[in-house]
Amino acid sequence: MIELTAQTIPFYILAVIAVISALAVVSLKNLVHSVLFLALFFFCMAGFYILLKAEFLAAVQIFVYVGGITVLFLFLIMLTFKVADKRLRQTNEQWLIAFVMVILFGWLLVTGLSETNWEIAEWSGPEKTIPVIGKLLLTTYIFPFEVVSVVLLAALIGAIVIARK
């Protein structure tokens, strides 16, 4: 079932790192360590995008998630509490049932996905994806694109209202 080719080997390497770092995020007791593993996880995601020939997305992933969000997390943690060296319990009394469910869930998803006959698209797109994405966003998907701007406005105002004293 598992084929090892030039494309799949990097995928499996990235996948293993991604899963391990994700597990680390939810199990390490030091918050700063968790956040650092989160950054690693986001890097792996960017790697997947590159494997899928979506370089633009990969770049965005790194800019926004690694450069923006993770750093923001770090600032927050450093500035608000002195938690850099605090150790927090990451589990609660639900961990056993959650564990069982994750296993079941994963098993069902894997069987479901692998039993499906996916239509495999042949790569026929252009070498440069950025102009295409740009064009799509401003023509076909102009509407959701514009809606997003309103969403951001709402989020901004909401954040001000909730956060300001």
Binding site: Q94, M101, F105, L108
Partner: protein
């Protein structure tokens, strides 16, 4: 073109809502609003009536109310000359009663409620009159019943009033059960509630005669209840516990008229079955003479008039049963005017002497000239003396009965003419002539009460003209039923009937004069001589007592037994179920812990559950 007609029933409804929700505290404003809206309705009705005189046609207007599957129920108006006449009568009587009530109910603390329900009552009756389908007429019918309950029991602090309201409601409901079964039975065959479509369906003659008779009789049950025909007449005299203007409204133009109107509206259905017509005729004829005899021996001024209402309604039903479509409905109109007049005049008397016993009154002619004169005019009209309104319509009825060939019914109706004249003049002579009672401070009622009476008195005199030869029996051309012309009669050719009825009426008046005015014979000794007969009549043939002993006792007994069953068996089950339900509710609540991680877990369990059931 006739779109304004919608406003005729709507205005009183709007008034009801406005009074209940907005102007409840402002008593005077409420009453003025109510009077104003009824007045506008009346003007619109007159406009419609004049239009119908010029164009006597049937107009149907409707909107779909709702639809479930193939059943469509409409809200609509069926406008024809009959509707037009009823609209004018209902709005006019209602208007005059409301004006009169300004005086009669002066100072009542619940005046707003009074006017609100008068408005609702008017609306219900108008909605019933204009209905173009069975559902709408049934709703109006039930609303009328509900309003009568609230108005008869208006002074609910008085136990008798509350009981009378309940009695009216329950008794008429008994008839309504038959009515409803009849409607549904008809619907199950005709597949429509619309009157015109039902009529068309009947024309096709698919319905078997037996079934037709059954449906007609069942629907007639509703009319028996509402128009207080024997054996469901018992509620009407008790309904006198309500305020007198309400009695006038219920007895003249609205509630009791509904039954007669129903038979008229569905005349196509009734005339299709000879047996049903026979039932209608005999019930009407019996009620007429039966109630007439009771009225002779009553002492309560309102009850006498109430029994006369029963008797007159019997006449109308009798006429319809004998094929006298025009006669019955014509009498409905004239009766509305003179009976409303008599009730309002009764109210005026009660207002003056604060008693309803005719023997507490006496010699009231001098202090209350207007009341006495209008009362006399009403009585003359009721007794059927020409040229008053009642004469023309009653004459039509007698001719219709005579033509139908039912000798028994004809004799009964002729005797009733005598009884009618006798009891109405007995009442008049006792109350208005003779010596004034000591300590009586009777005085004439205020103008707000007398003016409506005077208007009604004028109508009681002239409303019969459309049926008189001077107008060429115009009413026959206006309100008639297709295919029944041969049963209606020319006026002139029946002199015998006319003279006979005149002679009976005259002898009734003369007898009353002999017994109660001239006192040539003592009515006390008469009552003593025929004590058993008098007692029988005084106690209304013991019908109420009979019902008490049979139906009511039986119901109460069953109720007690089922009460015990209910308390120990059903309640046990119900309480048990409720207990289990509440316990389950407590159980369900335990999932709502307030911890958001539990919530997410529940969501995931839900998704997983679905996945497992779908994929395994």
């Amino acid at each position: 073109m006739l779109n304004y007609a919608w406003w005729i029933p709507l205005l009183p409804l709007i008034t009801f809502v406005v009074i209940i929700f907005l102007t409840g505290k402002a008593k005077n404003l409420s009453s003025y609003l109510s009077i104003l809206s009824t007045f506008v309705s009346f003007i619109l009705s007159c406009k419609l009536f004049l239009y119908l005189i010029a164009h006597p046609e049937t107009v149907e207007m409707s909107v779909e109310w709702f639809r479930t599957g193939r059943i469509s129920v409409e809200l609509g108006m069926l406008i024809d000359p009959l509707t037009g006449m009823m609209l004018v009568v209902v709005t006019l009587v209602s208007l005059l009663v409301q004006i009169y009530s300004r005086g009669y109910m002066h100072g009542d603390p619940a005046l707003s409620r009074y006017y609100a329900f008068l408005s609702l009552f008017t609306f219900s009756m108008l909605g019933l009159v204009v209905a173009n389908n069975f559902v709408q007429i049934f709703i109006g019918w039930e609303l009328v019943g509900l309003c009568s309950y609230t108005l008869i029991g208006f002074w609910y602090q008085k136990p008798e009033a509350a009981a009378a309201g309940k009695k009216a409601f329950i008794t008429t409901r008994i008839g309504d059960v038959g009515f409803m079964i009849g409607i549904l039975l008809l619907f199950s065959h005709a597949q429509t509630f619309n009157f015109l479509q039902v009529e068309e369906f009947l024309h096709r003659g698919i319905l078997s005669p037996g079934l037709l008779t059954l449906i007609a009789v069942l629907i007639f049950c509703g009319a028996i209840g509402k128009s207080a025909q024997f054996p469901l007449h018992v509620w009407l005299p008790d309904a006198m516990e309500g305020p007198t203007p309400v009695s006038a409204l219920i007895h003249a133009a609205t509630m009791v008229a509904a039954g007669v109107y129903l038979v008229g509206r569905l005349f196509g259905l009734f005339s299709g079955s000879a047996q049903a017509m026979l039932v209608v005729a005999y019930i009407g004829g019996f009620t007429a003479i039966f109630a007439g005899t009771i009225a002779v021996a009553q002492n309560d001024i309102k009850r006498i008039v109430a029994y006369s209402t029963l008797s007159q309604l019997g006449y109308m039903v009798l006429a319809l049963g004998c094929g006298g479509y025009t006669a019955g409905l014509f009498h409905l109109m004239t009766h509305a005017f003179f009976k409303a007049l008599l009730f309002l005049a009764c109210g005026s008397v009660i207002h003056a002497i604060h008693s309803q016993d005719i023997w507490d009154a006496g010699g009231l002619f001098k202090p209350m000239k207007i009341t006495a004169i209008v009362f006399l005019l009403g009585s003359l009209s009721l007794a059927g003396i020409p040229p008053f309104a009642g004469f023309w319509s009653k004459d039509e009825i007698l001719i219709a009965v005579h033509n139908s060939g039912h000798t028994v019914l004809f004799v009964a109706s002729i005797i009733t003419v005598f009884l009618t004249a006798f009891y109405s003049f007995r009442l008049w002579f006792v109350v208005f002539t003779g010596k004034e009672k000591e300590g009586s401070h009777a005085h004439e009622s205020p103008a707000v009460m007398t003016i409506p009476m005077i208007i009604l008195a004028i109508l009681a005199v002239v409303a019969g003209l459309p049926g008189s030869p001077w107008m060429g029996g115009w009413i026959h051309g206006f309100i008639h039923f297709e295919g029944l012309h041969e049963m209606e009669a020319e006026h002139g050719g029946h002199g015998m009937v006319m003279y006979l009825s005149l002679a009976m009426a005259a002898s009734g008046i003369i007898t009353a004069w002999i017994a109660y005015k001239a006192r040539w014979i003592s009515y006390e000794s008469m009552a003593g001589t025929f004590s058993s007969a008098h007692s029988l009549l005084f106690h209304k043939y013991w019908i109420d007592e009979l019902y008490d002993l049979t139906v009511i006792w039986g119901t109460m007994f069953t109720a007690r037994v089922s009460g015990l069953f209910d308390r120990y068996v059903v309640d046990g089950l119900v309480n048990g179920t409720a207990w289990v339900t509440i316990a389950m509710g407590r159980g369900a609540r335990t999932f709502q812990t307030g911890l958001v991680q539990n919530y997410m877990l529940i969501i995931f369990i839900g998704i997983l559950g679905f996945l497992l059931t779908r994929l395994l």
